[in-house]
Chain length 413, copies 2
């Protein structure tokens, strides 16, 4: 079956999902978790096939690592699915309710979006994760993962299909695409007839490709060039603690700091201290002229340094005149993800919070908190860096839309 | 200045708008309304130029009518702007607020989107309307209207720019595009760097062209093929009242009924009555075979009848077996806009409300209520038939996004 035919079947299965109760959706997820555990052997065998094929074709070891499943990873996936099933129902939430002047009674309530297309790379656990998120929010889905992980994903999707059938639901509600050509993928991204929303998950290259080529609406989970701006009034111990946490606690993730901005007034005093600590933590630093003048062991920034998401133990440093220059720097180089100000000046903090146009803006805290679980959403589909529909960490409700139910007694306009 | 340069300037002006208070935004709108009235003569003169040019180039009389301004229309525009200024502030609304387990205090609040691009046709009042909506919601805008209305729109935009300047705001916050080439328009629709959101306003051809070609996120304000399904249990007097209202009160608008579905059980009894009344109201009817067998003065439906938005005194009629067949018909032919069931059967009503995947689903009321003012939004940017970001009638809040403000005391993760 080709991808277009799969999308048509998913679309046909969507209305059935829409009418499922909360209990039914939870039951499917618990069955899915059970089946993953029960089929661990088969999944690991399929995974072995993917890894052997990958090694033969010479893909990078880091990619092999992303591809690899083991018992612990499958158990973790099952546990994550059970946690998802314990979250409050994202559907049927009454967002607004009132009687209009006409007498018609209006209720605005959350409903599923319909069919969600997920485009991702070679992590097979994304298959389990996305299938569960979609079913919990009442959506059908078409999963288009990397061909390197196809056997693993296929074994995982088979468990979900079995769970759906066990609960009387068409297995077409979760479709896993066979490895397809670029032309078929392009057609999939333009299939507004059958796909309501596309979510790309993976590298920024993948995400940009989807954003550039899709006619189906996309939620962009983008790059994070996160800034922390330190003022002279900030407590230096607190500043050091936050900066080290923002850069070093998990440098590979999108909410890690890439650039530190320092108020000129504290550059001479604070810069040598923080550079030393960063160095002790294994961080390579690139600085602007001012920074390099003060600290000779900071490398001169390259032309694109301040526009680079390193996802690594690398940090840019720039000295700015004041909060206004900091805001302007972030406006120029930021990606509207997460940015922080460290200061004791309440007025500057407020100005920064109101002026920086990012999903999450922090005062005296680490940007590392930008996360669906930290924000209490209980799940995370991704972190949106776009402004429409969902912004910042996205929980289950990001996979819903709303509808107006209007009850009348014969009213006309 | 070309359109790309104008977009860059609008983008530069956006941060200033973002920081305006509610009082400042209201003041700009009141000044704008004053200036429209004070410059009525100049606007009408510009409008005369457009009309003369249009007549010379032989555009249709209906288009000339849409183009034409007069004192009353300008007064109505000014009054609409004052009403907009009296609405509650759509910005700074706290959507969520709580202290996370980390101790960081989270506030989720509404903020402007940034720069909104509006693509529209030859109604110059859309220029006034959209400029006011964008400023009231703190957004900069680039207005790309039809070249036929350029002189009129230009005179109106000049008033807005003057109002901005009077309030100390850069006039670049509202940009009116000069008539441009198709290439420039295409580049504009792909300018993700400077334009955050595109809203097409006008014919479904225009909207589809934007949806097909834009890389900038679009809010689709789409076609309305609205259905009303009548069951045998419905009170026939109520049904007749609602059906006539839905079809005849304003057939040119998107919330008017295009198709009536009748439950088989009441076809023999109700069809002759409603067909007679529709005929008295000047409605031309196309029916399926069953309908035509019962009422010989209903024309046989064409192949595409049930997929056509007439926006006219024309109605499709089909007889369906039951509520399930009605839901399936709407799923196949509807546009996810507004659909209604008329019935006294509460179970069927609930099934219909929960199954029909439209922005607005009615029970015993006319689909004509789908409207921003009727819904109490106080304004209407359009009626969205897409599922992301905004669905159904869009008020000022559809022109906002949200941001998370996070206040800490040195928290790290």
């Amino acid at each position: 079956m080709n991808l277009h035919e799969q999308s048509i079947l998913a679309k046909k299965a969507a209305p059935q999902l829409r009418s499922l109760t909360y209990a039914q959706r939870r039951s499917i997820l618990h069955d899915f978790a059970d089946l993953l555990l029960r089929n661990t052997e088969a999944i690991l065998k399929a995974n072995e096939t993917d890894i052997e094929t990958g090694e033969k074709s010479g893909i990078r070891p880091s990619m092999i690592d992303r591809l690899r499943l083991n018992e612990a990873r499958i158990e973790a996936a099952a546990e994550g699915i059970r946690q998802l099933a314990s979250l409050p129902d994202p559907l049927g939430i009454v967002l607004d309710e009132r009687t209009l002047t006409s007498g018609v009674h209006l209720k605005k309530i959350t409903v599923p979006i319909g069919v969600i297309g997920i485009i991702y790379e070679s992590r097979p656990n994304v298959t389990a994760d996305c299938a569960a998120l979609c079913i919990m929010s009442g959506n059908a889905c078409v999963l288009k993962g990397g061909r390197e992980a196809w056997h693993s994903s296929s074994a995982i999707a088979a468990c979900m299909k079995q769970a759906l059938q066990k609960n009387g639901i068409s297995p077409d509600a979760v479709m896993l695409a066979d490895p397809v050509s670029h032309e078929e993928t392009a057609a999939f991204m333009n299939d507004r007839e059958n796909i309501d929303l596309l979510i790309p998950r993976g590298s920024s290259r993948l995400i940009q490709a989807v954003v550039q080529h899709a006619r189906v609406p996309v939620i962009e989970t983008g790059a994070g060039i996160c800034h922390t701006y330190v003022e002279a009034s900030a407590d230096p111990d607190m500043a050091e603690r936050i900066l080290i946490n923002a850069k070093c606690s998990r440098p590979s993730v999108c909410n890690a700091m890439e650039t530190m901005l320092l108020e000129e007034a504290c550059a001479e005093s604070f810069l040598p201290r923080i550079v030393r600590t960063m160095k002790e933590n294994g961080v390579t630093m690139y600085g602007d002229e001012h920074t390099c003048r003060i600290c000779s062991d900071v490398l001169p920034a390259q032309e694109d340094s301040f526009d680079t998401e390193y996802n690594d133990l690398i940090l840019n440093i720039a000295v700015v005149k004041d909060v206004h220059e900091a805001i302007a720097h972030i406006e120029k180089h930021g990606t509207h993800h997460s940015d922080a100000i460290l200061t004791e000046d309440a007025e500057h903090a407020l100005l920064f919070l109101n002026s920086v146009d990012s999903a999450c803006v922090y005062h005296n805290a680490s940007t590392r908190f930008t996360d669906g679980f930290e924000f209490g959403l209980g799940a995370e589909i991704g972190i949106s860096t776009q402004k429409l529909h969902a912004r910042g960490p996205m929980g289950l409700q990001a996979l819903t839309t709303y509808t107006y139910h209007l009850e009348g007694k014969g009213e006309i306009r």
